[in-house]
């Protein structure tokens, strides 16, 4: 789908804007629900739950544990493009940006979701949502600009990439812990 000429110019920009909007929407929903769930939990318990989610997901991702995470196991339908040259890609981007309308090959978004649910302030949640969209937009941009088969290269180095991104994710999580620590 990404090889289509629609992924050039303003449709591509609309798609990327949709990714950011979708990510922000998901984050706002999570932080609103989380603002109720987290009330009885002290700061330490909140982050302990996030850490537990991280450990479980990492063990799952490296194959030590086997369990299924909730996932919409399908691609966003191409029918979204019936909405037009800009609105179609925009809706496609929003749906992909939410993280709830297509496959999620990594467990990291679930841990980010738990962190937003239990520990993020509204501003932090918006950063996570926009960041999620940026990460997905980065993938799209790189895929389009790489001269060869980007997906094949991703698959070839998937283990190394998962380790790199997992490490960066943990560093970012530690930064968030430090930022939200009670003074």
């Amino acid at each position: 789908m990404l090889s289509s000429p629609v992924w050039r110019g303003s449709p591509a920009l609309a798609f990327r804007a949709g990714l950011l909007i979708g990510g922000a929407l998901s984050a706002v929903v999570l932080v609103v629900v989380g603002s109720l769930l987290r009330v009885p939990l002290p700061w330490t318990a909140r982050w302990a739950l996030v850490a537990a989610a991280l450990v479980l997901v990492l063990l799952r991702d490296i194959g030590v544990l086997r369990f299924t995470l909730p996932e919409n196991r399908r691609l966003v339908p191409e029918s979204v493009f019936r909405l037009g040259r800009l609105l179609g890609p925009l809706q496609f981007g929003v749906e992909m940006g939410t993280g709830a309308r297509t496959y999620l090959p990594s467990g990291l978004p679930y841990v980010a979701g738990v962190a937003v649910l239990l520990a993020a302030p509204l501003s932090g949640a918006l950063w996570v949502g926009v960041g999620f969209g940026v990460g997905r937009a980065l993938m799209t941009t790189a895929n389009l600009r790489y001269p060869g088969d980007w997906d094949a290269q991703w698959a070839r180095y998937s283990g190394r990439l998962a380790a790199m991104l997992g490490a960066a994710f943990v560093v970012s999580l530690l930064g968030a812990v430090w930022l939200t620590a009670p003074s």
Binding site: P109, A112, F132, G135, M139, P147, S172
Partner: protein, 41 residues
């Protein structure tokens, strides 16, 4: 255009995340999670 190779893109994001984790950790939390979902288009 080899600079768009997945390892290069991920490397740049990792470096930015490590450098910016103290300032905008939430942003990089989302960005690393977002890029990690590559292959789902």
């Amino acid at each position: 255009m080899r600079r768009w190779h997945p390892l290069v893109v991920a490397g740049v994001l990792v470096a930015a995340a490590v450098g910016g984790a103290a300032l905008v950790p939430w942003l990089f939390l989302g960005a690393t999670a977002g890029l990690a979902t590559s292959g789902s288009t």
